[in-house]
Symmetry: C2
Subunit: 334 residues, 2 copies
DNA sequence: TTGTAAGCGTTATCAA
DNA sequence: TTGATAACGCTTACAA
């Protein structure tokens, strides 16, 4: 009972069939002409003997890895957002269907050292960036190296191939709906101004107000908010200015705001309405449930993966915008 | 202005220095004797010319990949739990410090096809399973292939090298604290009985009651709960039986339970106390905030990564238990 | 201490 | 349609 554990190689196949490696290789890859009969013989043999070409050797010969690197931010602020995880599940559906794998690569603030290592070492054939920044060292680096990549999110740099949800329209629509109720005084609480999405959401907010015949009140808009202390200050300011509704750019801000309201005895939606430009399962089920937008993270991951695969195959790839968002009106806006 | 983009190889280094590849290889790897002078010369040259050995070629020669595969469940139930994502961030800290990378690999229910592909194709040197099951096809497969792996979570199979939080003690402690208040009638809502953790938590619950001089009331314990409908039914049953406190095994159940209570007009903690055996940032901030346990996901990922690296280096590795949990008492249990 | 040459398992070039 | 044979870039016996 010898358990031959050594993996069978292309050489073994060739020898067993009394043909050359070249022929076997051609039969499998489909490149180059092979006799019908020979091909069948090879295909049958490898099926029966469960031969799988070694992707490392293949990679060495082809200068490929059959891996896609996905870049995540490792900052604590983002570690809890299920967004990245959900994207990856979507990407995996595509990559695994193409016998490719996903490599996880972290950036820590400005530090793109790990990405650089992966690129220099050729450990992946392409890269997916999971967010776009105004000042974006990762994207700049990849461009400078001429390394294929796509970004999730809209970019200020037009050469970058991106896939994004239609955040602008979604935010515009939600804002317009809220503004055309009796409520006119809408306020905004925004995140990191180095994120392109922050500006997109702001533009959507602006357009939504315009559409409803209202205008942005600069005093009711603040970006770069990232602490509960700051949220609390702004809540007080906004209330003094007579804000009727506050929209948060994401649910971490929204979560903070809810807590501040509770501490200050501000009733939602009685004294103040609240909405978020990005959904969270848990917030949508909180008391009161929070009005928000919903995007399909799984889907956007899938699209990004499809695009980078095409790109690494040398095909032309165009930017994409996904329009399937949902506006979910809940108790927090009556 | 020729941009020599071709990567420099070990051959280039050797030729430039008028020595053989062998010597260069030895100087870099540290294996085999090399003259002090020669080594310095090599090291200096590769630093200046920014030479990095190609890991694919290295891998082909050594039969290694410098990748670790991390296995995630792709089921919808788990897609939202930040646990897996946080683990990976922890693992990455270790792997990247060792010039290794993380490959993501999904299992879908019983389907371990992708894991098998990665193992058969030798696309990783070792595997980390992120949960343990009673009936565990992934672990069984890896054992049968003799492929190195570690599991996060306690296993019923003693040969498996695991790293786990001390769930038993944590659950025991929380239960005991809740039971030694005036409350004696504790109920339990549990998840998938194929997960080892479900049983561990149950044992902890049992031990906690015992410690408090109480005993498990079988009618107040139900495992395998996974729908809101079922939670609602059980809430009614438990209330009829006079339950004073319900502990949920995780925060998805807890979230459902809170919603059911709201629907049924059950006041927390007035009519009923609630706690969870696994924490969620959002639940801890809900109204009322939920009493729960807290574990360090980042840390457990780190440990798992350290273990698999040692294992792939052929070192002996022992099971580990991490004792740093926190019991967080909040408003939901008064 | 250093070098030669044979792998590692593929693909690709060039003849036959 | 097929087959030698040389890459791909590195490690590692075995020699010197």
């Amino acid at each position: 009972m010898k358990t031959e554990n050594r993996k069978i190689t292309i050489d073994d196949v060739a020898r067993a069939l009394n043909i050359s490696k070249t022929t076997v290789s051609r039969a499998i890859s489909g490149k180059g002409r092979v006799g019908e009969k020979t091909r069948n013989m090879v295909m049958e043999y490898i099926k029966e003997n469960n031969y799988r070409p070694n992707p490392i050797a293949k990679g060495l010969a082809e200068s490929r890895t059959y891996n896609i690197a996905v870049v995540w931010p490792a900052d604590y602020d983002y570690m809890d957002l299920p967004f990245f995880q959900r994207c990856v599940v979507g990407m995996n559906k595509i990559t695994s269907a193409n016998d490719m794998d996903i490599l996880i690569c972290m950036t820590r603030g400005e530090d793109i050292g790990e990405l650089a290592r992966i690129v220099e070492n050729k450990k992946a054939d392409g890269v997916i960036l999971t967010r776009t920044l105004i000042e974006d060292p990762a994207a700049d680096y990849l461009i400078s190296r001429g390394f294929p990549f796509v970004s999730i999110g809209t970019s200020t740099n037009d050469e970058i191939i991106t896939v994004d949800n239609n955040n602008f329209d979604a935010c515009r629509e939600l804002t317009a709906i809220l503004a055309t109720q009796k409520t006119k005084k809408l306020a905004l609480l925004g995140g990191d101004p180095n994120h392109v999405i922050t500006h997109t959401r702001y533009k959507g907010f602006e357009a939504g107000l315009k559409q409803a015949g209202a205008r942005v009140n600069e005093k009711l808009v603040n970006l770069g908010v990232n602490t509960e202390r700051r949220v609390s200050e702004l809540l007080n300011e906004y209330m003094k200015l007579g804000a009727e509704c506050i929209i948060c750019m994401d649910d971490m801000l929204c979560d903070m705001l809810i807590r501040c309201c509770r501490n200050e005895g501000v009733d939602i939606p009685g004294d103040l309405r609240i909405a978020s430009f990005y959904d969270s399962k848990l917030l949508a089920n909180s008391d009161p449930p929070i009005t928000s937008l919903h995007f399909d993270d799984f889907m956007i991951g899938q699209r990004a993966a499809e695009m980078i695969l095409r790109l690494t195959n040398g095909d032309e790839v165009e930017k994409e915008v996904i329009d399937e968002y949902e506006v979910i009106l809940k108790g927090s806006t009556k």
